[in-house]
Amino acid sequence: AEVQVAVAANFTAPMKDIASQFEKDTGHKVITSFGPTGGFYSQIQNGAPFEVFLAADDTTPEKLEKEGGTVAGSRFTYAVGKLVLWSAKPGYVDDQGAVLKKNAFKHLSIANPKTAPYGAAAVQVLAKLGLTEATKSKLVEGASIAQAHQFVATGNAELGFVALSQVYKDGKLTGGSGWNVPGDLYEPIRQDAVILTKGKDNPAAQALVDYLKGPKATEVIKAYGYGLQ
């Protein structure tokens, strides 16, 4: 059968890998849409045809669940996001994040803290380090974590808080320099998935969710720099 999935933008690369393996292993077909979690929420509320939803946070799936838009008991954490302070320039960010305290940069890119979980986490890190005031006038916000990364990748911002999954593959950074922000500086970024009401009777939807919990998918998820619950 076919299953239509809405996937949080930060999970784009691993999902492509997982989907193609899943198709090979099960014979089901996956149609994926990638985008912002808040945007998907309003689309689902307004009758979007998605059957499974992989969100960038845990609050949006929970909200849908409370509103009766999901299959009861289907919600689970498929990945835990990790935050990294990253620069496209090699050697710019040290492995202790001291570059933040030195404050010699012009622009620090973050995702919108109001709407993106990675943005909210970045703001928590700055607060814990006591740097909220010092960096206030240097913050630039991307509408999503993808855009926050784009500002840094194009060099318009010297550094930024991005998702580790965006700059990490097979156990190392794909380029530039970064500081893996210690987990005690921000609330865990739990990314939850649910089966939506539209996917209730679709065996492929259940199969995909089971597959996401299985060893093949979790290996891919870890290789992209996510943690697991």
């Binding site: 912002p36 913050l139 630039v140």
Partner: protein, 226 residues
């Protein structure tokens, strides 16, 4: 008051951006439109096409190229850094530059139509009366093309107010610098603050309707619209 302090700041910023952009567009667009209306050059087609590009290109294309070219490694970015101006993304000046590109056809095309509608005759008469080219332009062309100027200014202003994709891509959402009304609405919707989104979005619909209503119901302006 249903509008927050941030909403009001976004409205103020948007009006400043649109006003400054409109003035610059009239300054830049008038000679381009004049040249396009008068020239017999073989380049006319190419230049006209370049001016019209923002009409058909998605804002993502313009935004992406502006981000790359105005960035520290791009040609415009290297020039502005060389001049000691820093780089343009994330600044109000950057939004103005982007808006001038983005709204250019909305100013050039009505002006070009107005200039073409004047024809050769008034210009010939002016020159037999020994008016110089500048004199002719300001005392003959500008008054005759006045409806075209008004249309161009209104469309340039309104289109800049309605700009979203380009601002989103190069702005960085900084309050009082690059957070315009359109971006503020996007934020409200993304944060599921639908009530606040409604106030601003409804205001935009009303504003745009009134602008276009004024434009279409006034006959004198029709000369400028093709």
């Amino acid at each position: 008051m249903p509008l927050s302090e941030h909403d009001l700041a976004a409205i103020r910023l948007t009006l400043e951006l649109a006003s400054l952009t409109t003035v610059l567009l009239l300054v830049v667009g008038t000679p381009i439109a004049w040249w396009l209306a008068r020239t017999r050059s073989r380049l006319k087609g190419a230049i006209g096409a370049v001016v019209a590009l923002p009409l058909v290109l998605p804002p993502t294309v313009l935004g992406f190229y502006l981000l790359v070219t105005m960035g520290p490694h791009g040609p415009i970015g290297q020039l502005t850094q060389f001049l000691g101006l820093g780089t343009l993304p994330f600044t109000f000046a950057g939004l103005v530059v982007a808006s001038v590109f983005y709204s250019l056809p909305f100013v050039v095309q009505p002006l070009q139509n107005a200039f073409e509608a004047i024809g050769e005759r008034p210009l010939e008469v002016a020159s037999t009366l020994r008016a110089g080219p500048w004199d002719t332009f300001f005392t003959v062309v500008v008054p005759l093309a006045r409806p075209g100027f008004i249309t161009a200014a209104i469309l340039g202003f309104a289109h800049t107010v309605g700009e979203f994709g380009v601002v989103l891509m190069i702005g960085g959402n900084i309050p009082e610098k690059t957070r315009t009304v359109a971006v503020q609405i996007f934020d409200h919707v993304e944060a599921m603050e639908y009530a606040q989104a409604h106030w601003l979005a409804g205001g935009m619909v009303l504003f745009s309707f009134l602008v276009l209503f004024a434009l279409y119901s006034s006959r004198r302006f029709k000369a400028g619209l093709s």
